[in-house]
């Protein structure tokens, strides 16, 4: 049985080619869906055997694709209007699926969210923030770069609190993360809902099993912390 996560990628343009390639490198089972013949052929030529050429505006053609609830859906159609429409169609068809859309304009982001996208990657917002940082905050720029690129040492780490671990039942304020040389960025406390809460909001959280914390730090320190967390739960 394959443990590969299945991804449905709607759109295979010049820009989204890179995304498809990196998903393939990330060991995902990728299915490309295109409504443009040339783009579909490009996908086939690039080695994406599971490429379908359909009219994405027609639900009768979308339904036979057989998207399962556990599958991820990525909407990266070139046409902004079509991307919003497709997101809406897929949400109505797959109410429980994770739909990630990439926005290419200021106004599309909100529309994609309204259309039902679970996550909207606001490409230009991120780039604009980065350019702003280059001019105004050079140190912050380096840290932000390190989150994107793998060539830097500082990155994110996501840890699930397991039952009986050193974090289970701990009040976050009382836990000293600096002993591991990492910084707590925020927490997902299921008791408080499914919203990510930033550490800067200073709310006293009691961690329970299955809560998730996100930290930043050097890769080695993050790995070390994960190891200790795992060992403490045994």
């Amino acid at each position: 049985m394959s443990l590969q996560k299945k991804v449905w990628m709607f759109g295979y343009s010049q820009e989204s080619k890179m995304i498809a390639a990196s998903l393939r490198d990330g060991n995902f089972a990728i299915n490309i869906v295109e409504s443009n013949e040339k783009n579909a052929n490009d996908a086939l030529l690039d080695g994406f055997k599971n490429t379908a050429l359909i009219d994405v505006t027609n639900d009768d053609e979308l339904e036979p694709l057989g998207i399962k609830t556990s599958d991820y859906i990525i909407c990266v159609m070139d046409d902004e209007h079509l991307n919003v429409f497709l997101t809406l169609s897929l949400r109505s068809m797959c109410p429980k699926n994770e739909i990630i859309s990439i926005s290419h304009s200021i106004y599309a982001t909100q529309k994609l969210k309204m259309a039902g996208a679970s996550k909207v990657i606001d490409l230009y917002q991120v780039s604009a923030n980065r350019i702003h940082s280059i001019f105004k905050k050079p140190i912050a720029t380096k840290v932000l770069d390190s989150f994107i690129s793998t060539s830097y040492e500082i990155s994110f780490g996501e840890f699930t609190v397991s039952k009986g671990s050193c974090l289970d039942g701990v009040i976050l304020e009382n836990f000293d993360f600096s002993q591991f040389n990492i910084i707590l960025i925020g927490v997902l406390d299921w008791e408080l809902g499914d919203e990510f809460i930033f550490a800067t909001t200073n709310i006293a959280h009691k961690l329970d099993a299955d809560d998730i914390i996100v930290c930043i730090g050097n890769n080695n320190d993050l790995q070390e912390f994960e190891k200790k967390l795992r060992m403490s739960s045994k």
């Binding site: 490409l123 991120v126 780039s127 905050k137 994107i148 960025i185 996100v214």
Partner: protein
């Protein structure tokens, strides 16, 4: 004589004082890029207005004696000095002498002081014969009181609209001269005809000048009515003169209007460029699209920016959206060269979709000045290296950020929230830098004793000198000039900044 000229020229060439003094006067009188020139211009505008006001006031009133002294002697002296200084800073006399001397040495011929002086005079003549210099010269002749009214024309040097109007007229020089000759011909023929026909019968036409005056007033359709034809023949000449004159005037008017329309865009663009060149630190953004809009929404650089967009329809939309935008091609050398400026720190951001064009613009900017900081957008990491070779200081690859975020969104959905907020600078995850100054109340304090937590801030790191310390120890003591990298809400950061400066208790 020859030796003397050459010696003087080399002396001036080497003299630091002479060259600095000349540059000083050039900067304040002629260098449009010098932001301080503005004050000198204002001073001269004041003098001109003062002088003209005195002239107008004295027509019906007796002006106080001190005003007459100031106007007649002081202002005239200042204008004479101004004229001499402008003449001096126009060109480099000693350079001409040195060039001629070196030429003679190279060709092994005698150095001709006559030719050299001729070249120097020719160069100065270029300035003397320019319309504005002629106005300057006439304005300093105080012999005739009335002629001093010419001083008002000196304002043309300082009023951009007048200069631009003259530039537009210059662009239609040939057409306008042709029309002027035609008008002169019509006035000449009509005036002479009228003088012959009614010279003896019309009591108002006593000389040929009266006839020419009548012809001009009729041809330009002004028609004062002080001189009018009295004979049938005279009336026929009047009718023909009026019709032909009307055609010429209409033609001339349409010519000027069309010239203005043609030049309007250029005039607007030049104004924007002139204004931005006066700013000491500005940003040139190449390409107007979603990314540009988003960037300016994030940070409008205190309005010290200019967008260059080559597609006029796109540029029109940008103007409608309220941005400072000019229509031009940033990949052309002469376009970016307009911003070459020794007074300003220039940054250039290439946000176009096309890598080839962005690389070309990067090279273009760097070929104009290595000092221009270039931030370029690239489509892939493969391109990054090429941009670096071209000299780009920073390369933005939106797709790489998208990839990382996409993979995070699938693999670590919780982490994605944190990452997206940090990268997009949203919510409570705004990253900012706080420079520690000597007078701040956190200097010499241990990091553990600083109220980051109370201000709802996270200390991510610290930069000391060239070293960045991630997650610094609580025992570390803060020094002046350290830079703190903190995360939190914008308002928390602002409040913390005020607190450490002691402006809040």
């Amino acid at each position: 004589m020859e030796n003397f000229l050459v010696k003087i020229a080399f002396f001036l060439y080497r003299s630091k004082w002479y060259n600095q003094t000349k540059k000083f006067f050039y900067d304040y009188l002629e260098n449009k890029e010098n932001p301080s020139k503005h004050y000198v211009d204002l001073f001269f505008i004041f003098l001109i207005l003062f002088s003209v006001f005195d002239l107008v006031y004295s027509v019906k009133n007796k002006t106080p004696h001190w005003i007459v002294i100031v106007d007649y002697y002081l202002i005239t002296t200042i204008f004479i000095l101004e004229y001499i200084l402008r003449l001096w800073v126009h060109g480099n006399t000693h350079h001409i002498i040195i060039k001629e001397y070196e030429k003679s040495k190279f060709l092994q011929i005698d150095f001709s002081s006559k030719d050299t002086i001729k070249n120097i005079l020719l160069e100065k003549w270029q300035y003397i014969k320019s319309p504005i210099a002629i106005i300057d010269l006439v304005a300093i002749i105080p012999l005739y009181r009335e002629i001093r009214v010419i001083r008002i024309f000196k304002l043309t040097r300082y009023i951009r609209s007048v200069k631009q109007f003259l530039d537009v007229l210059k662009s239609k020089y040939f057409e306008l001269v042709t029309l002027a000759i035609l008008l002169l011909f019509v006035i000449g023929v009509s005036g002479i005809s009228m003088y012959i026909i009614e010279g003896n019968t019309n009591s108002k036409i006593n000389s040929l000048l009266d006839a020419f005056y009548w012809a001009l007033i009729t041809a330009t359709t002004v028609g004062y009515g002080d001189i009018s034809p009295v004979s049938d023949m005279g009336k026929i000449v009047s009718m023909i003169t009026a019709v032909v004159g009307l055609i010429i005037i209409a033609f001339g008017t349409s010519l000027m209007v069309s010239a203005f329309f043609e030049k309007l865009g250029e005039i607007k663009d030049n104004r924007i460029i002139e204004d931005i060149n006066k700013v000491d630190n500005f940003v040139i953004i190449c390409g107007y699209g979603q990314m540009t809009k988003m960037l300016l929404r994030e940070d409008n650089f205190n309005s010290k920016y200019i967008i260059i967009e080559k597609n006029s329809d796109v540029a029109k939309q940008g103007i409608k959206d309220g941005y400072n935008i000019i229509v031009d091609d940033a990949s052309k050398h002469n376009v970016l060269e307009k911003f070459k400026n020794s007074y300003s720190k220039i940054s250039l951001i290439c946000l176009g979709n096309d890598d080839i064009e962005n690389i070309y613009i990067t090279l273009n900017a760097k070929s104009i000045s290595k000092e221009i900081k270039v931030v370029a957008r690239a489509s892939s990491s493969m391109m990054e290296k090429k941009f670096k070779i071209a000299g780009a200081d920073n390369v933005i690859i939106p797709n790489i950020a998208a990839n990382t975020m996409l993979l995070t969104a699938i693999n670590n959905p919780i982490m994605y929230s944190a990452m997206h907020s940090l990268l997009a600078g949203k919510n409570a995850a705004y990253l900012d830098e706080i420079r520690v100054f000597g007078y701040d109340n956190i200097v010499d304090k241990k990091i553990g004793n600083i109220a980051f937590k109370e201000h709802k801030l996270l200390l991510i790191g610290l930069k000391r000198g060239d070293e960045f310390i991630f997650n610094p120890s609580k025992d570390m003591i803060l020094n002046s000039d350290d830079i703190l990298l903190v995360m939190g809400l914008k308002i928390s950061i602002e409040y913390f900044n005020k607190t450490i400066q002691g402006s809040l208790s």
